[in-house]
């Protein structure tokens, strides 16, 4: 089978489309995940999407619906048990371990194809049926719509929650919305790269982008582009080497981009720094003030005011 032949096949086209959609959602959400320090939450949600998928397989041979419900439940659990940043990681760890245990129990009862289980863990976009692809498209569109609406206040709340709250941003409610959107994204990504490898699309491209620029819009754009290159590039590569799963290529491309960004980041930063000088210089006097040095101008006289 040649790549050209495969590209003419509907299943391959569907797979490329699904991968692109997943890449866009992951690329959008990734910078916020990195800024909020929530990589572990992504991992936790993905692992429990596995449990949900196992339940879905067992109940109605529908791992996508199961994964969706599983990850949404986990998002609410993380928001409830890990509301404070300090306790979030430990709460996720506790939920994750328990959830995986349930997943293994459920798989024990499953007597269908053995590959179904590994497909959940390591991804197999070709194993997803047409109706399930449709679910993925709907999920992707929801994520894109929510991100397009809430990105700015979410970023504000992630960078500086205290000031954001004072400015009227509903920080806690947005945090929950973000976890739910994250759950949707993870469910979608898990179909392409598997629950174990979701981080390669949800974290790595964003982490690479943040090494290259500090402009929020540029970060989002680069993160989406990197995720697209990894997801669709990996899929195309797997067309050429059909014995190797697409997720292997996707994670490899994603990591290669990350390494390149880690190497290029300091160089870019140095070049930028040669022009402006972000080191404290003499204080400019922006607007005329009535009194140059209040501290020293204070006279000694003390008396009733």
């Amino acid at each position: 089978m040649t790549i050209a032949f495969l590209l003419g096949q509907p299943f391959a086209q569907h797979a490329l489309l699904a991968a692109a959609l997943v890449a866009v959602t992951c690329g959008l959400i990734g910078p916020l995940v990195v800024t909020r320090g929530m990589s572990f939450a992504v991992h936790g949600t993905a692992e429990l999407a596995f449990t949900g998928a196992a339940a879905g397989l067992l109940a109605g041979n529908n791992p996508v619906a199961g994964a969706l419900i599983g990850s949404l439940v986990v998002a609410v659990l993380i928001a409830t048990l890990g509301a404070r940043p300090r306790e979030r990681d430990s709460a996720i760890g506790a939920i994750l371990a328990f959830g995986m245990g349930i997943g293994i129990l459920l798989l024990g009862y499953y007597h269908g194809f053995a590959t179904a289980a590994t497909n959940i863990l390591f991804g197999d976009i070709f194993g997803v049926s047409g109706s399930q692809l449709l679910i993925l498209v709907v999920i992707g569109l929801i994520v894109i719509a929510v991100m397009g609406t809430l990105y700015r206040p979410l970023l504000f709340a992630s960078v500086d929650p205290e000031v954001a709250e004072a400015r009227g941003v509903p920080v806690r409610r947005l945090g929950l919305v973000f976890l739910l959107v994250l759950a949707l994204t993870v469910t979608g990504a898990a179909q392409v790269v598997g629950t174990l490898l979701v981080l390669s699309l949800a974290i790595t491209p964003a982490a690479a982008a943040q090494r290259l620029t500090a402009s929020p819009l540029a970060v989002v754009a680069l993160s989406v582009v990197f995720a697209l290159i990894a997801a669709d590039g990996g899929l195309l590569a797997s067309f050429g080497a059909s014995s190797i799963k697409a997720s292997v290529f996707i994670t490899s491309i994603s990591f290669a981009i990350y390494l390149a960004a880690r190497l290029a980041g300091p160089l870019l930063r140095d070049r930028r720094r040669r022009h402006p000088a972000p080191i404290a210089g003499p204080a400019p006097e922006p607007v005329p003030s009535h009194n140059g040095s209040p501290a020293r101008a204070r006279p000694h006289d003390i008396g009733p005011g």
Binding site: R152, R167, L217, V220, A295
Partner: protein, 281 residues
Amino acid sequence: MTGPGGVALSLRGATLRLGGTLIWENLDLDVAPGECLAVLGPNGAGKTTLLKVLLGLLPLSAGTVTIDGRSPRRGSAVTGYVPQQKDFDRDLAIRGRDLIQFGVDGHRPGLPFTRPRQVDAVIAAVGAQDYADAPVGLLSGGQQQRLRIAQALAGRPRLLLCDEPLLSLDPASQQEVITLVNSYHREHGTTVVFVTHEITPVAAFVDRVLYVAAGRWAQGTPDDVMTTEALSALYGSHIDVIRVHGHIIVVGGDESAVGPHHPLRGDGGHDGGAARGRRRR
């Protein structure tokens, strides 16, 4: 004065308890439009909580608080807020101009576009042109604080609330921050509430001082309040206020507040005394 002017603040019999602990009580305070008030007191005296009340983030347990006759509302366009000095993470992918942009529209839905012209004006006003495009985490504490103030000013506030903006800054940066706040205050007639634990740097710039300690309070001009007599009365134990070359040093103020009723206190009563004991760890 060219700006939109300041707002009037008023607290009447304001009492705040958090989780059963009395923070302060029966606080009466009036700040006229365009006035600058310094809020002083030891750690844990409830200075930051007073700002939270003014920001509409905490309700009073008793009494009333109004800003221009209305209750404080979270996210009010009237209020600008400079939080406690805290360095941004080195790897944070945010530039100074993005931070300032948040002050304009960070609370509104949409994508994080920056509008150069609007933000450039604020950047120029605070003199941050040289580093506004660098990642904030790589800037010095003074530069970060300058950007935070720019963020608060970007919304053209009529009430500016600053929470310990001088903390952990070197004296030169402290002076820059004070000059910045003061010049905006003078130019726009903005009402300013400036929380600080040190009076010296701001003594010439503030009109009035509110000193809170151990659930009680005293207020007046810096010269009225920052005296051995007034602070000893407030703390209920002997406090020395020493003035050396324009520096005002409070000796023995921090954790020594115990004692009986006194005319200057905000009439706390016995439960106030008990709460003081609980609050201190």
